[in-house]
């Protein structure tokens, strides 16, 4: 059985699809057939929205469902907000097997349970074959601000930069699939709230956190340096990269610093709290390979730099939008 155009028509067939697949797994006290969900919220809130179009929709270490929950959870978490609620819009290509759709919905349920984030509103549309690539998901998350002052424009001179784990796993898995490579690692796709929550409770002076996504480490550090108008220096020898990711980058001639991640983040924290931060990170499964990778060296000018293996310092350039393999 597969999704048909009529499933997007808004009538009985749509309700059938919602009951049989979505509500079967995602039913809760909020989801209903009302036009909108009513919430009571107070205090400062964080909102984030993201759309997910990943291809392939099932990959080593996850799928588009897990990715959309983790993506939203992570965007809220790195701002110091506890993820509470999310809405999701599904655009489905006619012909998507029910089995695939259900698998994705189950992933959403399982990933959401890890954090406790609740799906409170959803929408489904079906488009004719060829007008979208199997399924696209838009997810919007709402969280309650637990710790204020965490911002990309808050980096201070002397801050230490940490990364929560090895970089590039997700990007390598996706690119490997597209180029017919079989790679011995999983995407790092993961919800980071459980790793970040301890920081918000402890007395650690966090100035900024950034979820590494598209554009990888290079983009995140360039964005932080621009927002705060600071110069950041990291050391190539300290950046954790797993062997298969290294090998993959060597074979295709691409730069690991620009590969996407989906469950890895960087932090800029006050120097005095480095050991405390490392202890917290290393005590958790998700972040046990965390490392110090550099410092914020100066305020007043933007720039992200990398010290290469033999000592010289280069710009940490972001790769152009589309990563293409090179032959030489």
């Amino acid at each position: 059985m597969y999704v048909k155009l009529s499933h997007g028509g808004g009538a009985k067939e749509t309700r059938d699809l919602i009951e049989k697949i979505f509500l079967k797994h995602l039913k809760n006290e909020f989801l209903s057939y009302e036009d909108a969900t009513i919430l009571h919220l107070d205090g400062k809130l964080a909102i984030s929205t993201d759309s997910f179009t990943v291809n392939p929709i099932f990959f080593k270490g996850g799928d588009i469902g897990k990715l959309s929950v983790a993506g939203v959870v992570n965007d809220l978490s790195v701002m110091g907000a506890k993820p509470l609620y999310m809405s999701m819009g599904f655009i489905i290509e006619e012909g998507l097997p029910f089995e695939d759709l259900e698998r994705i919905v189950i992933s959403i349920k399982e990933e959401a349970q890890k954090t406790g984030i609740k799906l409170i509103a959803a929408d489904t549309k079906v488009v004719p074959k060829g007008l979208c690539d199997k399924i696209y998901i838009n997810a919007t998350g709402i969280g309650k601000l637990v710790k204020e002052g965490i911002s990309a424009s808050n980096l201070q001179e002397g801050d230490v930069i940490l990364v929560s784990g090895p970089i590039g796993n997700h990007g390598a898995v996706i690119m490997a699939h597209r180029n017919d490579f079989d790679i011995d690692i999983n995407s790092d796709c993961a919800s980071l709230w459980e790793a970040i929550e301890p920081f918000l409770k402890e007395n650690v002076e966090i100035h900024a956190m950034r979820d590494l996504t598209r554009g990888g480490l290079a983009s995140a550090l360039n964005e932080l340096s621009q927002s705060s108008n600071v110069e950041i220096l990291i050391r190539e020898e300290d950046i954790p990269i797993e062997d298969p990711v290294r090998g993959f980058c060597e074979v295709l001639g691409i730069d690991p610093f620009s590969l996407a991640c989906e469950g890895t983040f960087v932090m800029s924290i006050s120097k005095k709290d480095v050991q405390k931060a490392l202890d917290i990170l290393k005590s958790q499964k998700l972040t046990q390979k965390a490392r110090v990778i550099g410092e914020v060296i100066k305020k007043g000018k933007q720039g992200a730099y990398i010290q290469t293996l033999y000592g010289s310092v280069r710009y940490l350039e972001e790769a152009p939008g589309e990563l293409l393999p090179r032959i030489c």
């Binding site: 180029n179 017919d180 110069e231 220096l233 020898e237 295709l252 001639g253 060296i297 720039g303 730099y305 290469t308 293996l309 033999y310 000592g311 010289s312 310092v313 280069r314 710009y315 350039e317 790769a319 152009p320 939008g321 589309e322 293409l324 393999p325 090179r326 032959i327 030489c328």
Partner: protein, 362 residues
Amino acid sequence: MNLNDKDIVLKAKEKLIKKVEKLGKPIKIMEFCGGHTHAIMRYAIDKLLDGYVEFIHGPGCPVCVASTDRIDLAIELARMPNVIFTTYGDLLRVPGSYKKSLLDIRSQGNDIRSLYSCLDAIDIAIKNKDKNVIFFAIGFETTTPPTAVLLKKAKEMKLKNLFVVSNHVMTPPAIRYILNAGISHIDGIIGPGHVSVITGMKIYKEFDMPIVIAGFEAFDILKAVNMILDQLINNERKVENAYARAVTEEGNKEAQKLIEQTLDVRDTFNWRGIGPLSKSALKINKDYEMFDAEKVFDVKLPSSKEHPLCICPKVITGKAKPTDCKLFGTQCTPENPIGSCMVSSEGACAAYYKYKEVDLCM
């Protein structure tokens, strides 16, 4: 000990500097191959030996030497109806005469795909019997044998919808041109490691100059520099193999045989930066001409032109550095490349841009 052992590199630096001092003047070494340019920049070997060894970047980057008229040809073929156009990654970004690249054409709806292996074109042809699949082949001698295999397989499988354009170029004519053109007096050449895996050492015998074939790790390059300096100290001019773990005297005879069976030498071929060079490139031979897209398809090409301020031609032949170009880093960047040496990740301009030195006052 690991391949990136800092101590070994720093020790080598000391020795090499002493040898250059013995020679009494800074030494100019051309690394022919784009892969070596990339490695030198990535490991900052140019910085390591700054003031003692100057690296002149050679034309061994197939994307960089792809002339505008060949890019225009690619674009015209890609725009034909019912075509799936395939090539190796970096070529997609090079702009042709009218500022459009294959990536730009792709965003207008043409089916253009980057392949890791040219044999993937066969799978595409089989899955899309109603389309013409064109593989636009580029590369020096390392990348030519795969195209030869593609042609043989296409014939064995009697494929009717797979075509190839050969833009394969050859190393010795380019070295000859550089040396005869007397460009900035070169003392020695670091020869292309993987080209030599295919060709063997014999292709360099005609050159009267220290030539050392090198691998691609930092120590490989330093080893080659060391051997060139030793030759200069001893007044020698010979070809040496510093990549013996991969390169043999005879090269890969099977690959050489396949090339002979499928490809012929062109009378002349246009190289970006060099202009027309005789007997410097390969075309598909008569036995395989049914797969030759240049013969099968009739494309009208507009006359080619290049940006007036782009000095890629000079950069590719070592006559100028990327930083000498008025467009470098301002109008011409990897996101918005104007010339081919900025597009290709091993082009001198792209390597300079990516690995440019930061002046930190710390």
